[in-house]
């Protein structure tokens, strides 16, 4: 195993920790807003780390660029999705 492999896999494992935290947050937090808070932050960072880890393992720069694009798109969609769900939940409440 090269240094590159260890770094890549290590960062990916760290990413899964964030996913795990987000999942625990969904299951344990009391209301929609705090659940959203947990899942959007944790998933975003978790995915960022997994994308970073896989780009370190990736064969070439083009693959790494595609992984970066995937992360950007999911981060943007996740943020707007969380925002829309929170908006909806807020309207239902008032």
């Amino acid at each position: 195993m090269s240094v590159q492999d260890i770094m890549g896999v290590g960062i990916m494992v760290l990413g899964t920790v964030f996913f795990l935290a987000g999942t625990v947050g969904i299951l344990r937090f009391p209301d929609a807003f705090s659940r959203l808070h947990a899942v959007t932050k944790a998933d975003n960072l978790g995915l960022a780390l997994i994308a970073l880890g896989t780009s370190i393992l990736a064969a070439d720069g083009f693959t790494a660029a595609k992984l970066f694009l995937i992360w950007i798109l999911i981060a943007v969609s996740g943020a707007i999705g969380g925002h829309l769900i929170a908006r909806h939940a807020l309207r239902d409440k008032s």
Binding site: L73, V76, A79, I80, L84
Partner: protein, 305 residues
């Protein structure tokens, strides 16, 4: 030594069973749809594990994405919440027995399949260089078996035609707040670029017209939901034309092939790639318009069922 992937595969298979059961057993229609979409994502993962990235892409984009969006859209336009009724036991019995027969037949087919039948792999590999593309899946879909693809487009067009005839409750998107415009500014141009990339990739790697169309349609739905574009206000006729042009173009290709090579859907020798790229590009735009139109529903202003 056992393959370490087996743990992942077993988890995936178990998860699919659980999600399928949840989708069927949920009482609320919304929950069922979400479970169905989740099932699509897991199915897509399992196609990746089966070394079928083309099917995985299609399953993720069409099975989980667009179908889910269409189901949610249908749910929102139902006048009454669907009533949940436990089926009478004779019906449940018959359904159960029929399902078991199908499972048995599939199992028997799998077990009795002759060892040598490895699908079309060899036949396709032998003639791949005549197809004009290097991706065997695209070669099958748009050259060797393009008749099947033609019929698929016909089914899609028929679905749209029926929906336009029946009419539907018009889409009434709610205001989505100030953050939606910047989101659309990122997503819509990216969807166009990614669709073009997938389309071009289809010639040599997993990708192709349907996947590209699903991505493009998603970009269109973002525009429509954000109320940046209302297809009912204008362009209704233009959109119907674009929706129809996929099938019409494909039929013209079939006739053109008949005239040029005296065989239906056969492309002139040496020009296969040009023809395939032309068909795929037309299909991408047309199928994307059809999928988005199915989502919007009635294309004429003020038409309701």
């Amino acid at each position: 030594m056992t393959d370490p992937w087996i743990a992942f595969d077993l988890t995936l298979a178990g998860g699919m069973l659980v999600v399928a059961w949840l989708a069927l057993a949920s009482r609320a229609a919304f929950q069922m749809i979400v479970m169905f979409m989740m099932f699509g994502i897991l199915a897509s993962l399992s196609w990746v594990r089966l070394n079928a990235p083309d099917v995985a892409l299609a399953e993720a984009a069409v099975g989980a994405g667009i179908t889910g969006a269409l189901l949610l859209r249908t749910l929102s336009s139902l006048r009454h919440a669907p009533k949940e009724r436990a089926p009478h036991w004779p019906i449940a019995m018959v359904a159960g027995v029929l399902s078991l027969i199908i499972v048995g037949a599939l199992g028997a087919a799998l077990l009795m399949a002759p060892e040598a039948s490895l699908g079309y792999d060899r036949a396709v590999a032998i003639r791949l260089d005549q197809s004009g593309v290097t991706n065997p899946v695209t070669a099958v879909l748009l050259n060797f078996r393009s008749y099947d693809t033609l019929l698929e487009i016909a089914v899609l067009s028929a679905a749209l035609a029926i929906m336009l005839m029946l009419g539907s409750k018009p889409l009434s998107p709610r205001p989505l707040g100030p953050l939606f415009l910047p989101f659309a500014k990122v997503i819509v141009p990216s969807s166009v670029i990614i669709a073009g990339y997938l389309l071009w990739l289809g010639a040599s790697q997993p990708g192709g017209a349907f996947q590209a169309a699903a991505v493009l349609a998603a970009g269109g739905i973002v525009l429509i939901l954000g109320q940046h574009y209302d297809p009912r206000a204008r362009d209704g006729a233009l959109i119907r034309l674009v929706c129809g042009i996929g099938l019409a173009g494909f039929v013209l290709v079939a006739i053109g092939g008949q005239i040029l090579t005296s065989e239906m859907l056969r492309y002139p020798e040496g020009l296969e790639k040009t023809w395939i790229v032309m068909i795929e590009a037309t299909l991408t735009v047309s199928v994307a318009a059809t999928l988005a139109a199915l989502f919007v529903g009635a294309l004429r202003k003020g038409t309701t069922a």
